[in-house]
Amino acid sequence: MTGFLDSLLNGLALGSVYALIALGFVTIFKASGVLSFTHGSLLLLGGYLVAVLHDDIDFAGALAVAVLVTAAVAGALDRLVLQRVGGTDPHAAHVQTIVTIGIDIVLVTDLARRIGGDLLPLGDPWGSAVTDLGPVTVADSRIAAILVSAVAIGGAFALFRFTPWGLSLRAAAEDREAAALMGVRLTRVRTAAWCLAGALAALAAVFLVAFPAPGLERTTGQIALKAFPAAILGGMTSPVGALVGSMLIGLTEAFVAGYQSDLHVLGEGFGDVAPYAVMVLVLLVRPAGLFAAKGAARV
């Protein structure tokens, strides 16, 4: 039973971190139709900044700087590079997606070179402390991950729902042309979306490398890719779907890892790839994801 509760809490913590990343994917996709493959490197950038800065300024300051800088970098990438390839034209989204892969190669190469073979600690205040919650013992970092993600995601949803920018974003996602005619500045809306996604990615980096994980390493960015299945499961256009998908992915991964001994047919370390297996299974049944809007083609 404790094994079950352990896995459940691990899964929720993992899921909430994936949710931060997946929400970024979905926001970008809604605003620009681009699948951001740069997310791995943005995440790595956020983590790297915290790792480098936390000695000079304290952890909170380093985190704030990292979030702001990553957001600014993401926004600048969109404004200065991506929008030059076809602007806000939805037909250019494919090409822009491939451009994000190119940017990712450059950024990841550079960050990996700086990190080298080291494991960088982030100096987070939770350390390896644990809390007893009834029968189970949970790492403080996991509780922090759940709480902070809940606040950040709640904040993002409030932005979507109650601000003029959120309204513009939803309008642009619904019908780009009509939104533009109503005076929505598509370029600004999508640059802001990239900034938000960058900030969320930097935040996620901190929790991905906190206690049970050893620290920031050059391959940390690859974890961002696991948020892809989460976003796809949710149908790419639905923030709620991304949340549900992330929880599903996080729980799957935690349970497969937790019950590894019963699942040894699948091989050692199957937990790491389980999200992808879930994604393939879901896509077989529902090619457009679980929460996608029904599509209708107009000629």
Binding site: H91, G102, I232, G269, F270, V273, A277
Partner: protein
Amino acid sequence: MSDLRPHLLKRGPLLLTALLLCALPFYLDAFWLRIGLFSMAAAIGAVGLGLLSGTAGQLSLGHAFFLAVGAYGYVWLAGEPGPGLPPAVAAVLAVLLAGAAGGLFSPVAGRVKGIYLGVATLALVFLGHHVLLTADSVTGGFNGRSVPPLELGGFTFAESDPELTVLGVPFGVEERLWYLGLALFAVTWFTARGLLRGRPGRALVALRDSETAASVMGVHVARYRSTAFVVSSMYAGLAGVLLALSFRRVVPDYFSLALSVDYLAMIVIGGLGSVAGATAGAVFVTALPLLMTRYADQLPLVAAPGSGDGSIGPTEASRYLYGAAIVVILLYAPDGLHGLARRTRARLRRRPSAPQPPGTGPVPAAAAASAASDTTARAKEHTP
């Protein structure tokens, strides 16, 4: 004679290139031959990916998986432990196996479109890598397996057996594999061009440009999509076999996501939807890191491999370069090297002719071609 000349003029450059490629093993040493060999293998794979992503507009990041199926399929089928089939049979079966793997994925590949497929195929790379690491009895686990040499009717593609010296040049592994690679590449080149210029190619382009319009014109959407996927996986399988033969050892870590991204880089740099472009991109992406490693001490800014933290090694330098190449090419020349070459050729051809009135633009043929490549660069999709 008179009706032979235009034919020769048209085929001349192709024949000349083929002759040149056949003559190279007599002049180059093993290092250059290996570069050529890896480039040919990469080109075969890239042509396959080009069919899928460039022509059919389906983004695939799963190419490394199909390369792995081809490579490991050959090694297992031809080796011990394994059925120990004759290597030539094993090679053919490995290609078919890669195609079958693509076919198994086709329920997803046929229905998921565009960039969604890119993410779905990510799953293949990670799941495949997991299988390669854990299925020890077939794949040899983390350390991989050594590759049995190919045999064709008593002729072995290895250092000896039979000893072979042609015109005073001893034929070792690289020289023998060079001709094998050349033959396989020629097969790829002609079959892929045939496919692209025939009915299937047109159907795929129509599908890419507008799914609705294509299906109204009688193109079976799901069938063509999954067929493109299967054919592309078979080319990848063939590339995998050739890579395995040239590496002489296969290890799981080679077939990672980075390899898939490399292949994507090849077709983007070369120019989407063109066989020649994919080949040029493959040579560029494959040869660059190898050349940089070899000449690291003579290049500015590049340090020799393993010379300490923080310095830019040759592998990193080449990754910077082709990452940036993707961005720059898509920003300024969306039709890649292929488009650049064609535009230069059109401009050269135009110059000797009578001066055109301003504003008429390029010659009609070039205009049509560049219009076609515009649609190549921007795969259109009609979604609400």
